[in-house]
Assembly symmetry: D2
Homo-oligomer: 202 residues x 4
């Protein structure tokens, strides 16, 4: 069994739609067990139990949504302290509108999510340009569902973007299935105590 | 009078200390009026009134603190909609610990803050390497107070880091003083209504 | 007199067209003297002499063109060593195609250019969303001329993108005109010798 | 047999030392065949033949070295056109000095390299904080050998940094060994012709 956890936040439903597509793609893989949760519902045990974690966020003013950021601090950062995310497989996706025909900040937003996974020592799935739907949702780090046109007209995310999300979910799950239970990464350091770390945080 | 607003969040006091240094540096400039506020206290009118805005954040798992992110969504993104930040002067700073002797994600964290200011159409102050304290706090986008050593020992931010923060505050303020009241930037587009924008956000 | 230097590389002419638009915008400002040069032609003295520097690059596989990178190493990095770029005004622009409807890496490419200016201690102009043409060329860091459609069809850059470039050039020049000759930034550190620095570079 | 290719550039030998450590780590894995090449020596067939590609670069003024950038354009971008990098495993490392105690731009430099691999549709290895040597070389995207102290004193890269590089090479190779020959990623799009793409590049 491959446990896949998809975490998202949504305001008007577009990110939820993309998250559902990612979940459906994950479910298409043999032996996958998929959880789809809003960020505030996710516990540390949910993340401990997963083999693959996909984080999806609305873009809010060029970075991830504050709700997703709260999840990263409350759950991911805690499990980073205790090295409990090392070797899991990760992916990201985003949804957003925004003026301009050149991304409107979705790259840096995705990299902020990606960094939370990288800090955990995870293995990261990208979005190959051979993925169906890439022509619409194709940021190389992960799918981006552009929910508005260049002039901010409310187009909503399209079937092609959803297709890219679906395949991203399937890709991540297949990679996790191959790597599950393997002990591939060197482990030598000891985690500092949470108490020590707190002393110099902010 | 040059109105300078410094916005920060803090958990153990280090970011507050750096924010106070930035504020003191700003106050050293003739005719500066400086407000130092925690992120949850800041109103849209506070930002509307300022000539320069400096945002400082703890680094939490490689990006800005969720409290700062909330401020960006609640205040900055709203004023972006109505184009009320265009032409103001901006700067950023961060504080954080973290393993490793190479930044621990502070660059991407600072760029997330910087992006919020850039999206607003602001003019951005960097941190020149000629700045006193740069050798300790010298990320080029803005000062970073490293509050822990490479092994996460609780060193706390140093006088040199505070010195860099002080000069950053003074630099930002002097730039804002020169540019205040000037109408330097082309304005041609009309902002979309908030209602329209909401339709395709996340 | 305001000396504005625009540096670019081009392969098929689109980045050159955008560079010419930036130059024309700069020339529209009173007392501006504008140089438009391909990256391999630019000398250290050209950069020393300028009040504003705008770097424009084709996007090549998600970052700036190697020719522009060579200019940054041969000219900008050398003047960084001797602190000769501190306080100048800077801006960036890019041109590129690429699959996908979400930027295709232009944000990180622009930030790589922006970082070269920030490291120099420059004051950075962004691209406000009020800028005419922003709806087509609107990356917030600087204009991006998208020269291909989502399916890589050869659309070429449009009049709207060129308009954004024109206004970016004018904006940068007006900011530089206000700041020229002012000594706004703290200077306290002494540059290390080039010889010392070379010891640990790569 | 697992074919691992490590590509680097070097000026004073430090990046070469780190590249050799990555190669040695890769060689420690059963059935690994490792090539270590300077960037100008690498052919498209070298990259076609590899199961894992690790790119290491000196940091030059906040991004990768122009020689590495040339390799990315001449080799990686060409194989991106024809989708020949999809599903390979990738990693990055950097070496550099620089003022400041907070990374001096190594994060954005690493992400520029990482983006070249992501664009190719590769699966990316990060550097877990459990890796021996992480306390010295621990950027989460990949090892960074800091070759100078905060005051630019020529410290050179240390044994701990080399240790992190060694384990990074071993980690990447073990992941590639697990994934070799598996067909895990959806493939649906057809690559555009090189001739078409050239029309709108820069």
């Amino acid at each position: 069994m491959i446990n896949v956890l998809i975490v998202y936040a949504t305001s008007y439903g577009n990110t939820k739609r993309m998250a559902e597509a990612v979940a459906d793609g994950a479910r298409s893989v043999k032996d996958a067990e998929v959880s789809l949760k809003e960020s505030h519902e996710v516990t540390k045990n949910d993340v401990r139990a997963c083999d693959a974690l996909v984080i999806g966020s609305p873009i809010r003013h060029r970075t991830a949504d504050a709700r997703i950021k709260q999840f990263i601090e409350d759950v991911c950062e805690q499990l980073w302290l205790t090295d409990e995310m090392v070797g899991k497989v990760g992916g990201v996706f985003t949804v957003g509108g925004g003026y301009g025909d050149c991304g409107a900040g979705c790259e840096l937003a995705q990299l902020g999510l990606y960094g939370a996974l990288a800090a955990g020592g995870m293995i990261l799935a990208t979005l190959p340009k051979t993925t169906p739907g890439f022509q619409s949702a194709g940021m190389h780090w992960g799918p981006h569902g552009r929910s508005g046109g260049p002039g901010m007209e409310p187009i909503g995310i399209t079937e092609d973007m959803i297709l890219a999300g679906w395949h991203h979910g399937a890709n991540v799950t297949r990679i996790a299935a191959e790597l599950k239970g393997k002990d591939l990464l060197a482990r030598g350091n000891v985690a500092p105590s949470k108490e020590l770390v707190e002393l110099f945080m902010s």
